[in-house]
Amino acid sequence: MGLAKRIIPCLDVDNGRVVKGVNFVGIRDAGDPVEIARRYNQAGADEITFLDITASHENRDTTVHTVEQIAREVFIPLTVGGGVRSVDDIRVLLNAGADKVSINTAAIHNPSLVQESADRFGSQCIVVAIDAKAVHEEGETPRWEIFTHGGRKPTGIDAVRWAEKMADLGAGEILLTSMDRDGTKNGFDLAVTRAISDAVPIPVIASGGVGNLDHLAQGVLQGHADAVLAASIFHFGEYTIAEAKAHMAACGIEMRQ
């Protein structure tokens, strides 16, 4: 008995609507993030991550309103990310009911934002999201770089060194997405997950590429992740959260059933 590894379903939300769809049996409105969050809460999810992909900054009021509604009826931790640029953005989301806020691109442009917000609100609510891509040639020592703009723009920053720096600045958790694997259903990039998990003293969430339940277990057993995040395998009803937990537990992983 000890600390359980976590399963985190992720909702991509654009202008207050879940995109890529969710296909739960009997759900009334597959685009309503509040209804979907409620379902995942009932289904035994350990946390929920809400990623705001709304392009315009003006529509962020919608996001704040949605976070408020979710926080009123979902009593598990809620992480909100996407478009977070300032200490003020973080304050607004925390006040709306987010338990953690995820900082991505803004951390690259302004690393001191991580330190300022951790000092101000506590490390426990500051997640740094890292989008990494392999940049080594075959036969070379593995190396991953941070990419922005959905994996199109290289930054030249080494992903493992960056994760260490973010932990030093006060991040409480790393959300690591492999841009090579995201959307492929071929499983996590276990090498980068393990390299970062082993390098930092804070928890790491593995993301990008989950296509089946073995992938989730591998993220923990081989990638050394503390939590695994997935979207489509849960949204489209391929697997339930309960099935995922049962499978991971059968692989010897401590889970909250």
Binding site: M1, G2, L3, A4, K5, R6, N41, D46, E68, A71, R72, E73, F75, I76, P77, L94, N95, A96, G97, A98, D99, F121, G122, S123, Q124, C125, G172, E173, S197, D198, P201, I202, P203, V204, H224, D226, A227, R256
Partner: protein, 215 residues
């Protein structure tokens, strides 16, 4: 029965809406998030939350005179629930923030998790973040209807070990054993977040709303 008046003490450290929403969900109560000592004094029961660094929390508690207010609540016999840093603040002191003097409602200090590796050789990440099991080490009305070793949601880097083992109401382990909950008289305090711990957490809050303040 008239709704219970619950005061959630707000001393400017973080969002308290989750606590408020969860209490409203847990039972028939009027919850007010307040920094007004008179409102706290008029409430039937009091919640003392806290997040972030304890040095900042204690500085605000003292600046606002809430150290006296908490003592008055304790003396009044009203049920008092501490959560997370609220529980840590009830100890004598913390080694966080270069050493912080706390309220001294319980003997013992708050120390940082040592980290290291567990018995299986896994690295113990800090913060201790996620769902861990809580062993009920004291019979207490706040555990009513909650299974022994149920999981609750934790997120903290420092932990409490009371000097008197009989003050511990619930135990947990993460590299070392520590107190998941402490209790005496009309005080119950949890290191975990009941407001984020799904059904078990809501049950604990329901129990708090039903509790008469004696062990």
């Amino acid at each position: 029965m008239a709704p219970q008046r619950v005061a959630v003490i707000d001393y400017g450290m973080g969002n308290l809406h989750s606590v408020e929403s969860a209490l409203q969900h847990a039972g028939n109560c009027d919850v007010v998030v307040t920094h007004d000592a008179a409102v706290v004094a008029a409430a039937d029961r009091v919640v003392f939350p806290g997040v972030g660094a304890i040095g900042d929390c204690m500085a605000e508690i003292k600046r606002l005179g809430f150290d006296r207010l908490i003592s008055e609540v304790v003396a009044s016999g009203k049920p008092l629930l501490g959560i997370c840093v609220g529980m840590q603040a009830m100890m004598e002191g913390s080694e966080e923030s270069g050493g912080t003097e706390c309220l001294g409602l319980f003997e013992g200090v708050v120390q940082r998790f040592p980290g290291g590796v567990d018995k299986q050789g896994n690295t113990l990440k800090i913060p201790h973040m996620g769902w861990n099991t809580v062993q009920q080490t004291m019979r207490h009305p706040l555990w009513y209807g909650i299974e022994n070793n149920a999981r609750f949601y934790f997120v903290h880097s420092y932990c409490v070990t009371p000097t008197k083992p009989e003050a511990q109401a619930g135990g947990c382990e993460y590299g070392l054993p520590f107190a998941a909950a402490i209790a005496r008289d009309n005080i119950f305090a949890t290191q975990f977040h009941p407001e984020k711990s799904h059904d078990s957490g809501l049950q604990l809050l329901t129990n708090f709303l039903n509790w008469n303040g004696s062990c």
